[in-house]
């Protein structure tokens, strides 16, 4: 039994790794280009992308910083606001439920429609173009993250086990105690469900909102600017960086979730 488990664990490592290795080899040797019908100009070799990243490290780091600030601040502000909305909806269930419908409708509004509008709205925030486009970008990310958090947190706050609710009633617990002792802990796994959606979403919306911002900065904007200038290898370097940001943020979330929810399961 034990050897079987070991074998399963081994294959679940070896199979995806060898598949990734295969793709990498095909890419580096140029077979992938033939399959996709492109050339090394539009789809540069991985080694070249790696070299460009290493050569332009300081410039890339600056752009990463501005994208990360937008994504993280937007994620935090949006999630906090979303949770506050969920709490309000729990306190006033009838009107709050309808309000959440409206919020979930906001979730379906394309970012591309939202970003230019918010850019227009924030023209007066500051005289400095870099500051006001930063605010606009954070607001876009915030709107996207608010919806995901409020819908999930509302479920977590309201869908408590009936018997625990009854137990709180038999103890004659007031609403505040029920909220703190029962609803709040119950909502924590749902917060992580929301974050699993909004962490990749915050990176995506940060990248897209950069397309529409006034001030030219950030990983997303660099991808676009370099494509316009037909510097595809530089653009690929920024795409690689964007992927790394997404993957790293998700991994950090997974670690947090592991720590917090493991404690709860005991």
């Amino acid at each position: 039994m034990k050897t079987k488990n070991k074998k399963a664990a081994l294959t679940s490592f070896v199979y995806p790794l060898s598949f990734g290795g295969l793709i990498f080899a095909l890419w580096q040797t140029g077979v992938l280009h033939k399959l996709l019908g492109t050339d090394e100009f539009t789809l540069p070799l991985p080694s070249r992308i790696g070299n460009i990243i290493l050569d332009n490290l300081p410039k890339i780091a600056g752009n990463i910083q501005s994208t990360l600030i937008v994504a993280v601040l937007g994620l935090l502000a949006g999630s906090l606001l979303g949770y506050a909305v969920a709490i309000l909806a729990t306190i006033f269930p009838r009107w709050g439920g309808g309000g959440l419908n409206v919020v979930s409708a906001f979730n379906a509004v394309p970012i591309v429609a939202l970003a230019p509008v918010i850019t227009n709205w924030t023209k007066d925030v500051s005289k400095d173009a870099s500051v006001r486009s930063m605010v606009a970008k954070i607001l876009v990310v915030m709107v996207i993250c608010t919806a995901a958090m409020s819908i999930n947190a509302y479920r977590g706050l309201t869908e408590v086990k009936p018997f625990s609710e009854d137990l709180m009633k038999t103890y004659a617990a007031d609403k505040l105690t029920t909220f703190v002792k029962l609803r709040l802990p119950n909502s924590i796994p749902y917060i992580f469900i929301a974050l699993r959606v909004s962490v990749p979403a915050c990176v995506i919306s940060a990248l897209v909102s950069e397309y529409f911002a006034e001030y030219i900065t950030g990983v997303g904007r660099q991808i676009r600017e370099n494509i316009v200038l037909a510097q595809y290898s530089t653009a690929w370097a920024y795409i690689t960086v964007a992927c790394l940001i997404g993957i790293l943020m998700y991994m950090i979330l997974m670690v947090f979730e592991g720590i917090l929810l493991k404690h709860r399961r005991k």
Partner: protein
């Protein structure tokens, strides 16, 4: 007062009041902006101004009225989004099926499925355009990739969620693999499949519009950037913003409607109020 309360009890009325509330806030904002700005229509026009531009006959660009421009371009964008959505839906379902059929494929594909979710595909829109060299094809490709992931991941979760008893029963009945799939696995995965579709439908439309903004050749996104550059009336921009919001929301609800058409039994169960209990199990 009592009548008002009874009306307020229905779910639709609550949403309606919220929608009205947003409109009122919008109008207050519009009046405020009108007083402070030189070009208020760039920041926040009145709702009646936008509606007026929808029905106006004044040609905005190359002999077309604002509405005509928006409708023709929306058609082009939606068609490509739908094509990508359809391709992504089918390939996502097939991959989920293959992953469930073969452990090897699951082991190979699942980690990459996780990674695809974290890669900002929308950020890659320009590079897809550079590879495909055709704005139409790249829109379809990106919409397909964005659809593909939620559908595949959700459908696989659906296949895995089947109750053991059902599986055992099929085994006892000596059902063939084909029968197991058509009779139990696929029906039980369908709700999950639709959850995936609901997530990806607005995303496919976003993708399609976004790729438009990168290059000409028509489409909502292209008109969006042109009207922002004041090549035509700014009202075209507001019409597009409203329309894309409406399309995004409608696409979400459309998936819900199709879901109900496919699974009338599920609807009844939800209406019977048993769903809550099942969720809490």
């Amino acid at each position: 007062m009592k009548i008002l309360k009874r009306i307020g009890d229905t779910k639709g009325a609550v949403t309606l009041v919220w929608a009205l509330g947003i409109m009122i806030v919008w109008e207050i904002g519009a009046f405020y902006v009108q007083g402070t700005k030189r070009t208020p229509e760039n920041v926040l026009p009145h709702i009646y101004q936008i509606l007026g531009s929808v029905f106006s006959n004044k040609p905005v660009s190359s002999g077309q009225t604002a509405l005509q421009i928006v409708i023709t371009n929306a058609g082009a964008t939606l068609l490509r989004a739908a094509a990508g959505f359809f391709i992504g839906m089918i390939s996502g379902f097939i991959l989920a099926l293959l992953m469930n059929l073969s452990g090897v494929i699951e082991k190979i594909a699942f980690p990459y499925l996780m990674i695809i979710q974290m890669i900002p595909i929308l950020g890659m829109a320009p590079i897809v355009l550079a590879i495909t060299r055709d704005i139409g094809i790249s829109r379809i490709v990106i919409a397909a990739i964005l659809t593909f992931y939620p559908v595949a991941a959700n459908t696989l979760a659906g296949f895995k969620s089947i109750e053991r008893e059902k599986h055992d029963l099929m085994y006892i009945c000596a059902a063939s693999k084909w029968q197991v799939y058509t009779k139990t696995l696929i029906p039980s995965a369908i709700p999950y499949f639709f959850t995936g579709l609901k997530i990806s439908a607005p995303m496919a439309i976003t993708a399609s519009i976004l790729v438009d903004t990168l290059q000409g050749d028509g489409g909502l996104g292209c008109m969006l950037s042109q009207s922002l550059k004041h090549a035509m009336s700014i009202m075209v921009f507001w019409q597009i913003v409203l329309l894309s919001a409406i399309i995004g929301i409608l696409s979400f609800y459309l998936m819900g409607v199709i879901e109900k058409l496919f699974m009338p039994h599920k609807r009844k169960r939800v209406m019977g109020g048993r769903r809550n209990y099942e969720d809490k199990e």
